[in-house]
């Protein structure tokens, strides 16, 4: 008797606690439904609109006055090299910076969840193109304008956000495993059986894959031919997970060649003395090179809009030099542009946005079926 009552109260308490916390039902706006976060913080948008029209000293002065009053700025980013830029910003301006760092997926998830719940967690977001495009599609971002944006490489002047740096996918190799003169001349060459077991693909590089795939279609190859090429490359490949692990294993000699390394991963390792390179002894790097922008965007719901804009201005000016020191390729071309004269191709952003599952599935299939060709 008594025990049944206990159980009854247990159940009741559990239910009350549970329902209490889930004030809103997940069905009202879950992670899979559209966010529609088109609510406006008019104050922030007024500030953005006003500053966007200003230039030069007037812009900086107005921004700084407003930003000082705001006192702080909250940044969500997946750029792990942003720390040094933030340090520089803090030294230049008396503004407190709160920064959340995650991977690009968690940055996106977090912004989505917070916006759906009308929680204004961040003033600006700094992450990958794909994630920024999704946020822009949900009308969460306010366009940033000015002379600095106009100077950005045209691939980086996206709707709703502005590129700050580019991820550059290159073919890299271990210089003790691949002697000078033996480097592959092209991506197609990696399908040659002589590279069997010596090259590495990365399991998550769908964006790189989509860009290369489109490139070969544009070159006049048929779908079947392109798939066959990738499958033959995959048949030669060892699959790695994560560019860092892949890069470290390339330095250690586990792989001789990586098909889609980040240039900065290789440049950093080479700077430390590792036997890796993406520049052949003779001539120019293997092309085409896939570039994909990472960028920054202003949140419509920002509570510190001026400080956010001040940060974007800083990242696109002084910040570019700091990023360059971390071997990142900045979005504003400089005199010694590492991409000058190279055939750089872009990721088909619109297609990836419209049907991301298609490319995921295709790359998964290519990688897996390639491996069965043993």
């Amino acid at each position: 008797m008594q025990h049944q009552k206990i159980l009854g109260s247990v159940a009741a308490v559990a239910v009350v606690l549970f329902l209490g916390a889930c004030g809103a039902s997940p069905t009202s706006g879950g992670p899979t439904s559209a966010a529609g976060a088109d609510k406006s913080n008019t104050k922030a948008q007024e500030v953005y609109g006003r500053i966007n029209r200003l230039t030069g000293d007037e812009r900086t002065k107005t921004l700084l006055d407003l930003a000082k009053k705001e006192g702080t700025v909250s940044i969500y980013t997946s750029n792990t090299d942003l720390d040094k830029v933030i340090d520089g910003f803090k030294k230049t301006y008396p503004i407190e910076v709160k920064v959340y760092r995650g991977n690009s997926e968690s940055v996106l998830q977090r912004v989505m969840q917070e916006q759906q719940a009308n929680y204004d967690g961040n003033d600006l977001v700094e992450t990958n193109a794909g994630e920024l495009n999704i946020m822009n599609g949900q009308k969460m971002l306010y366009p940033y304008e000015g002379a600095l944006r106009d100077a950005v490489r045209k691939e980086g002047q996206a709707d709703g956000w502005t590129a700050t740096r580019f991820n550059v996918f290159v073919i890299g190799w271990n210089t003790t495993k691949v002697k000078p003169g033996e480097e592959p001349k092209s991506f197609e060459e990696l399908a040659d059986p002589k590279w069997k077991g010596r090259i590495s693909l990365e399991i998550g590089d769908v964006d790189w894959f989509a860009a290369m795939y489109k490139h070969y279609l544009d070159q006049g190859k048929t779908d079947a031919e392109v798939r066959d090429l990738f499958k033959r490359v995959a048949a030669n490949a060892k699959i790695a997970k994560g560019h860092t692990a892949q890069g470290e294993l390339l330095s250690a000699g586990q792989f001789a060649v990586t098909a889609s390394s980040y240039s900065h991963t290789i440049d950093k390792a080479a700077d430390q003395g590792a036997p890796v390179s993406w520049h052949p002894a003779s001539g120019t790097p293997i092309q085409p090179i896939v570039i994909r922008p990472n960028g920054v965007a202003l949140m419509k719901t920002a509570t510190h809009p001026a400080a956010a804009m001040l940060f974007v201005d800083y990242e696109l000016s002084e910040g570019q030099k700091i990023l360059h020191e971390s071997f990142r390729v900045g979005s504003i071309p400089t005199a010694n542009d590492p991409l000058a004269g190279l055939n750089a191709i872009s990721v088909p952003e619109k297609e990836m946005l419209d049907d991301p599952k298609k490319w995921d599935a295709l790359y998964e299939e290519v990688v897996q079926s390639g491996q069965e060709v043993k």
């Binding site: 060892k238 860092t244 950093k268 390792a269 069965e372």
Partner: protein, 575 residues
Amino acid sequence: MITASPTVPARERAMPGWLRRVATPKTLIIVVVAGLIGYLALVPLYYLIWGTFFDANGFTMGGFARAYGDPRVGGMIGNSLWFAIGAAVLSLAVGTALAYLNVRTDVPFKGLFFAASIIPLIIPGILYTISWIFLASPDIGLLNKLIEPVLGPGFFDVFTVWGMVWVEGLHLSPIVFLLMVAAFRSMDPSLEESALMSGASRWQVFRRITVPLTRPAIVAAVLIMVVRSLESFEVPALLGLQNGIYVFTSRIYFVLRSYPPDLAAAGALAVGLLVLAVIGVAISNLVGRSSKNYQTVTGKGFRPRPMELGKWRPVMGGAIVVYFFLTVVGPLLVLLYTSLLKFYQAPSTEAFASMSLDNYSELFHISDATTALKNSLLLGVGSATLVMALMAVGAWMVVRSRIPGRQLVDYFSFTPLVVPGLVLGLALSFVYLRSPVPIYGTIFILLIAYCTRYMPYGMRYAVTSMHQISSELEESAQVSGASWWQTFRRVLLPLLSPGLLAGWIYILVVSFRELSSSILLYSPGNEVLSILIFEQYENGQFTVLAALGVVMVLTLAVLVVIAYKLGAKVGLRQD
């Protein structure tokens, strides 16, 4: 936790009879604990189930089709089972043997031994796995280079299912070790001694007496190991993918990778695991069911006394040294070696000449390093203490009470084990972004996440210990007039302490590595160590990461030894 105060007589008079009977400290504590367990488990479970079966258009089974519809799913499940069962068997054998030697024999170097047995758990999975690549890759493995003159090139190959079993099994063996240490510490040696006196050989005693007596612990260990290895992704990703060995969790990775993450398919996979886990919990309860067979802590006084190994002592000492060289010292040396370099390279004179402490000094210049260490310690100690306190009561309900529906407490406490970390993170941020209590954006949301994630382990540790304690002890306390709470506090808690301590150590150690839900839930100022590890990794700072790994191992090993020394002073004493 909760202090029981006697009911005020004035209030008592005002209360109706039934309420007075119900509103005892015992009922209150039970209701609160059951409520908390139910609440912690149901939030992510509800989110998972809802996401699995409902989309914008209502009920759907599409997730199952996408999750299991792949033509290769059969092979994946085969690989997964091979991998999971292999790793479970290996960790069980290794963990049990080490625990037995540590607790029940007079093996040399015990303190060191205890810390060393935990180290594989402390090293972050990604570092442990990459260390093994550096040791046993057929192309660049140091062990392979070492034995090449004898056995030819590429003798060891870590990129096989056996390699995956080896790395995962060793990495998980501390969970078994801790469970079995607790079980062995609560075992009356007189049973084994009687068998020996009656002429049984040592091996017979181990097989016929020792193992059957610790069966609840063994079942719990197998259950946790199998589920853990089925879900594990780090080892299969780094070792399996290279040669095209795909496991079940590779699917979860693929379906959660794109935006929007396919929660329905991930949920469908988790539901598959859930079914497996529920069956496992049912079996484990059946095995340990209220039977007196495992109750080794009885009214009869005993002192667990170590068995003398005699002439075997040096042999065992030697075997342990060899084992540790292979599994602990090897990877740890690789880590230490890497942490002194600028980039990983095979040992050579140049490599040694280039060594420096730069990576360590860089570590101390990371702005949030001290905050992160402080937060991780706070969260680790906090969640370990909370979970073990809750689970001590929970285990009593499951094992001892006759409350109808008590098994539900057990099932609920186990469900978080199958919820992917990302889904837990999404569920918690969904709930607390809408909660009137400001928890989102504070460190408490991480505490809630950690308590949820580690509840299953806490429960297994507590239940296993509870099975060993004879009910006659409680009965005598109650006959002597002790209240339920007094009995619980003065009799059960001290006797449970080996199991509670083992669970506590486990949670403390693994909480330092929790990333998949932390990364979504932490806020500026609440950074934890795992976020720092992730950042260094993303940034390509592998050598700095190795340095961080070394620092973590040192910090946690010291903490574990302190906890173990303190714990040895409570409860059952050893001679």
